[in-house]
Amino acid sequence: MANAPGRFLPGDPRTAEPYRLTPQLALRVAILAFLALGVFALLFLRLWALQVLSGDRYLAQANDNRVRTIRVEAPRGPVLDRYGRLVVTNVPGTRVELWPADLPKSWPVERKELRALAVVTGVSVQEMLAQLRRHGQDPLTPIVVQNGLHQDQIDYLRERAPDFPGVQLQESYLRKYPYRSLAAQVLGYVGQISPSEYTSLKTKGYVPTDSIGQAGIESTYDTYLRGKNGKAQLTVDSRGRPKGRATLVTQFTPGEALRLTIDIKLQRAAEQALRYGIHLARVSGIEGQHANGGSIVALDPRDGAVLAMASYPTYQPSIYVGRKDATKLAPVLDPKTAELANHPGINRAIDAAYPPGSTFKPVTALAAMQEGLMHPYETIPCIPVYTAYRQAFNNWTPLINMGMDLQRALAQSCDTYFYELGRRFYVLPSDRGHPLQGWANRFGLGEKTGIDAGPEAAGLIPTPEWRRAAYPASQGYGVIDRTWKPGYSIQLAIGQGQVLVTPLQMARLYAVIANGGKLVTPHLAADVELTGNDGKAARILRRFGAQPSQPTGVDPTALRYVQQGLEEATHASFGTSSGVFGNFPVDIAGKTGSAEKNVTLPGYPQAPKLTQSWWCGYGPFDAPTIVVCAVIENGGHGGTAAAPAALKVFEQYFRKSATPTAHASD
């Protein structure tokens, strides 16, 4: 039968005999059906497990995804001088951060973005990648690419934000130094926390993007200065682009203000005096022509407060702030450049050790009196050459031949007088120990002063035991090398030989002499406080102040003779620095020192023996309020370079304290 026209489905007579479902096909369809059921059962189970059984966990994950906790940086606390002048403060700045999780997922795109960012910021791609690698384990913590962006850089990145996924601009604060290079080494600087610092500090709440004080008081008092960062939450999309504004979760706590004991005007005077002293040394002739560095410390002998601490050469701490400039940083970071620039990064007041020369003589004098080896009125010959043990020891000047008592010997800095004392120490029976070194230690030499800014050198007071340990037989040193010879004691008596001291240690020693025998602990920080607007503390949060001074056990009478000797040294016609201090209206007492040291100089194959110019002293003589210790490296005789430099500090200091009204106005 033909298909009826217009019928949609053709009639077919043979449809009467249908296709039959074979059992084999039925089985296979059934298998498919069971497979389908199994598949759907699996899907349902998995869906249930994810959504119902562990839904809360994934919900939390999804929320973590979208909410980014960002830091609201707390302004770092300012640093004030003792009169409340702002020495270090902050300016607001902007920094670029990279959020590793939001960077493009494909490397070519990421590289393209980093290259573009490198062009804008001047930070190389390698540097960024190195930083990313270091913080690779945590994709939700940003790295800081660059701090202190220029306005045009900020504008560029803001306008092209869609091209820079994972790049965020953050408000931050930058350190500002209104007094420029003043007290650079004392203040230290602030830098990005290093991975090793982070590892040791993370339990104290530091995070990898933190800045941290890297040296000086910025480092010591970091916990007070840093404040507490706030937290804000930002909703971001998958490319890290913020959606809407950040909401503040916790407000930051600004860092506390740190008040120093330093008087910034005295500091400036000290730094100027240091340059003046170097200048004097250079123009004085052959002896001081290589003068190229030095240090001045001014200390309050009553409590150890550091009034000024200068070190030369110096640098601008601002080179550490914001955009880093490798050429500017090289003198403090690169060892070779630092060598050429004579290490401006080192705080010579505490971290450089020199032979003290004659400034050490008060120690010898006091020790000899204490040990009964000398009487202050005993006359000991002061002659051009002192001979002992078949060795000749020269006096600094051959133009003398007379007997001297202690005061005169100190005032005129007679070497042979002290050579004799050194010999007397040497011949002491061994059961008396090493009293000269012992007294030096009691006066704080040969050990760190414990000042609150590092790093600090300990210096060296050589003893027979030290000699044996420092020249071990295992390294091929013979018996002769390892033996303490009489010349060592004789040299030590005038502060020569292997003895090494830091300027601060010497200032501390002269503070002992000035304050009647108490060993003070030098310190830089007075307190942390909330500062009022008049330069005075509104509320002192924590006072550091002075550690209690330790008695040295020195006999006040013995001390008196030394004080007299130091006063004669600056006022008697024969005093070594009378020409400098004799006319100064305030009674100053002090001692010159001219210490010989082998100094490596560029262009000299053999290290020549150069004279380190020292002067240490205090004033006013009757009631000392300031100790000044100055050293001019390779500056020649103490009277030519160091003493005039120290005088400049006294001039600044006493002009101030003599007329208190004037000081209030400046």
């Binding site: 005999e17 869906l47 839904g55 929320n63 998958s238």
Partner: protein, 394 residues
């Protein structure tokens, strides 16, 4: 033995009776209404879901565009009803070679997107031949096997099917589109299975497939030959150990699982679904649509869709059982299994129990080719159902 195994519902008799009352009313009465209902449900639900999923995308909601595809698909659906499957059987060779030609054309002239050539730009719409190819592939292979139905026990029958089946699979594979290639392989397996290829032959083929997969994923890379690109291997095996590497290959997977899990029982709603809205979940309108749906509508919402799919699969299998001849049964079986395979692989991958492949979720993922193809597939199923019990002529 076969005669006794008549379906108890004696569809032959009933079919005969119903065929007499053909015409539009007859067609409507003979349609599988449950399947139609399931189709309507899936499509409507899919449109609603995709509206929520894409509402916060840069281009706005894709529901209008998707609606157009649905309309085009519905037209194709009706067209498929009209055509007797016998036509496909008769012209299986042109269908096969046409498909093959189109696939070669797309490789040469296709538009590359994200490193893959799968699309042909036809102006108003980019057209993905490999999607249409799925159904055509089933039609062609079923034709081949139906031709050899008498010697189906002969190993040459499955070998011939393999010979015809592999070229399109390879062409899709090199686009590269591993997901679709897997769908083709599933379809090939299904037609062989339904056509009645011996168990032993199926077993050998299965073993060869497993060995091949192992070789591609493991042996050859060890020997220094990389058939797959590294990212493909990562995706295929990455789901077995989602690492803690947010920028690596498992990023999508972890975000997807998070999205599904965060949906909870009731879902986070369109506004609250941050994984989707803030674009943490990539490709949420296409490959990861199921995860987005699960995030926005929760367990209930996802379960409704799965149940609708189950309904489709169930009806499809019914149609296989009731097909009027082997060809129709093989076509219906291929389509049913392909559908099941796509639903499973897509939704399972978003939940971390299947490899990550670019297989769209039928009737939900935004995309014209997929939508229209799926309409065509269901249309053919309906067409087969319509002609159940009617022995083919000649």
């Amino acid at each position: 033995m076969t005669i006794e195994a008549v379906n108890t519902r004696a569809r032959g008799l009933r079919a005969h009776r119903e065929s007499e009352s053909a015409g539009l009313a007859g067609v409507l009465r003979r349609l599988d209404w449950l399947l139609l209902l399931a189709l309507g449900g899936v499509v409507g639900y899919g449109l609603w879901a995709i509206d929520g999923i894409t509402r916060h995308d840069p281009g706005g909601s894709a529901v209008t565009r998707q609606g157009l595809y649905v309309f085009a698909g519905a037209l194709l659906f009706v067209a498929a009803l009209v055509v007797d499957p016998d036509r496909f059987r008769a012209f299986w060779r042109p269908i096969y070679f046409g498909t093959l030609g189109l696939m070669m054309f797309v490789l040469v002239a296709g538009a590359a997107t994200r490193g893959s050539r799968r699309w042909i730009d036809v102006g108003f719409f980019t057209f993905q031949p490999s999607e249409f190819g799925k159904v055509l592939f089933v039609l062609a292979l079923a034709g081949l096997l139906a031709e050899r139905s008498r010697s189906i026990g002969d190993p040459r029958a499955p070998l011939a099917a393999l010979g015809y089946g592999l070229p399109p699979i390879v062409l899709v594979f090199v686009q590269p589109d591993i997901g679709t290639a897997l769908v083709y392989m599933a379809a090939l397996a299904a037609v062989l299975f339904i056509a009645g290829v011996r168990w032993s032959h199926l077993g050998v083929l299965g073993a060869i497939t497993v060995a091949g997969a192992l070789a591609v994923l493991w042996l050859l890379p060890v020997a220094g030959v990389n058939v797959l690109k590294p990212y493909q291997t990562d995706r295929l095996v990455g789901f077995t150990h989602p690492g803690n590497d947010p920028r690596g290959a498992t990023y999508n997977l972890r975000q997807s699982i998070t999205a599904v899990g965060a949906g909870g029982l009731r879902g986070r709603g369109v506004l609250g679904a941050t994984q989707t809205r803030l674009n943490y979940l990539p490709e949420h309108a296409t490959d990861f649509a199921f995860a987005s749906l699960a995030e926005e509508r929760g367990f209930f919402g996802a379960a409704i869709l799965l149940l609708l799919y189950l309904l489709v699969v169930w009806r499809a299998l019914k149609i296989v059982a009731g097909a009027r001849d082997l060809y129709c049964a093989v076509v219906a079986g291929g389509i049913a299994f392909m559908f099941l395979f796509q639903v499973f692989v897509n939704s399972a991958m978003t939940m971390g129990v299947a490899p990550i492949t670019g297989i769209p979720l039928p009737f939900v993922s935004v995309g014209g080719s997929s939508m229209i193809t799926n309409f065509l597939a269901i249309g053919i199923l309906q067409s087969i159902h319509l002609r159940r019990g009617m022995r083919r002529r000649g």
